[in-house]
């Protein structure tokens, strides 16, 4: 069976500078994969390109065996590719319920009410705010809402961009607990994280991105012992070492 997501030699440029310089990676079905690396390594750009938000300058992205080139985000999400964007990006002027319902309008969820109920059981903190503007939620609750909203898109691949960003340690634990729950029931996940060790522990396999290239990759056990992770974060050129 081909991988669910396969990225080959991806190149992405912003106004002349290359943010991603030839990234190749894959995510198999039922797998949890992490993409880590220092700030500016190209993690967010890679996810945004897979989701169709940013256009690639070169390389190929195959999702479910089909090329995604030129497909806008609203089409890719209908093919089963959901992204929880950086900084959560919930709709603060919509109610919590409207944020959730929004994801069901494209018709991938056959019973929207039942699916929303599942999400409220996953994150009970959201239930009492259903009729409140989502802007009144705390940062942690907003992250829960953003994850629920993406799950209501019924994704085959759930991509998350730094879901722990700006959260208190206790809430980071709540978010990761939920992600482990999803991983364990076989949701395919691609996670971008700043917190390298938490991400390596969470994922089956991890890619380390440095200056727009994959510097290193391996399974949980391989990377736990690898000292080179630290030098990747210090910005050392791993290619030469």
């Amino acid at each position: 069976m081909p991988p669910l997501l396969e990225i080959q030699d991806l190149v992405v440029s912003y106004g002349g500078t290359q943010a991603v310089r030839g990234v190749s990676m894959r995510v198999d079905r039922d797998e949890a994969v992490a993409l880590i690396g220092p700030n500016g390594a190209g993690k967010t750009t890679t996810l945004n390109t897979v989701a169709g938000v940013v256009r690639q300058a070169g390389g190929e992205i195959q999702f479910g065996g089909q090329n995604t080139r030129g497909e806008p985000p609203e089409r890719l999400v209908r093919r089963g590719l959901a992204l929880v964007p950086e900084n959560r990006q919930i709709f603060t002027s919509l109610t919590v319920e409207e944020n959730l319902r929004l994801a069901t309008f494209m018709g991938r969820s056959p019973d929207a009410a039942a699916d929303i109920e599942v999400e409220l059981e996953r994150f009970p903190a959201l239930r009492s705010y259903l009729r409140s503007p989502a802007g009144s939620l705390s940062g942690g609750e907003q992250q829960m809402l953003a994850i629920s909203r993406a799950l209501l898109c019924k994704p085959e691949l759930l991509m998350l961009d730094e879901p722990s960003l700006g959260l208190a340690p206790r809430l980071v634990e709540v978010v990761f607990e939920a992600l482990r729950g999803l991983r364990d029931v076989g949701v395919t996940i691609l996670l971008v994280e700043q917190n390298a060790f938490q991400a390596i522990d969470f994922a089956d396999r991890t890619y380390v991105l440095s200056a727009g290239r994959i510097a290193l990759s391996g399974t949980r056990d391989e990377l736990r012992a690898d000292r080179r992770i630290e030098s990747a974060y210090l910005g050392g050129g791993l290619d030469e070492s």
């Binding site: 806008p72 985000p73 609203e74 709709f91 002027s93 919509l94 409207e98 319902r101 929004l102 909203r149």
Partner: protein, 294 residues
Amino acid sequence: MTDVIQNAIDALSLGSLYALLALGVALIFGIMRLLNFAHGQLIVVGGYSLWVLDGLPTPLQILGTVLIVIAFALALELIAFRPLRNADPAVLLVSSFAVAFLMENLALVIFGGRAKGVPLPEWLSDNLVIGSLRVPVLSVVSVIAAAVLLASLAAFLSRTSIGIQMRAAAENFGTARLLGVRANTVIMAAFAISGVLAATASILIIAKGGTVTPGMGTAPVLIAFIAVIIGGLGSLKGAVYGGLLLGILTVVLQVILPLSLRPYRDAFVYGVVLLVLTLRPQGLVVLRSALQRV
């Protein structure tokens, strides 16, 4: 006392008209970050539609006018704005100027520069007489039309799936698309609604003035821009408040200014506008999302 009530109804009626104008502009701005100068030309289209359809029974004349204005609003989006979808908002603004001048001059070529009289049913220009109170029917119709449209729009935006998608897109278009919101659907819906608002405003303006000219769209669209900006760019509620404020202020100044100063009424109106903007440069209603972006 009756004077006060009559003036209050006048003020509310002009305020509702301005609110309808501002709302049509604010709706498109919210979703596309485009200040649509061509919104004024939709009012001209409405005026000439009424003139062309003169002779039909009034309900058909009005229905036909609304449909024609919606068609023009959709054509505007398809021809003038969709090809520029990913361009800078400033480019869209220039495109809206260009298409507005093109439409104005086409109207001049087709219908000539002289004002065309549009006879509307006589009962519209009658007065309602309640005791010593004489209220123009048209003022009452304006207020009711605006109230019905505002209430329907509010219900549409909060109850229907397209309405919720439009509000999401207005707050953050990129994230809305990640959740499956189709850009074309919400933008077309916004233009169709702005067409309904423009057609209604057009019918009210024509009913009051009685004539249509190619240049009659410019003053209303400028009023709409000002109302939208004092209300707070991007906020629909703000646009309604801005329109009401501008209309009520105009009538109040008309009444309280001494006779010798009345010719300069608009200078006073815009003096107050400047004052509002100096005190609250962000407008009357500030969006939470706009605050968070800072």
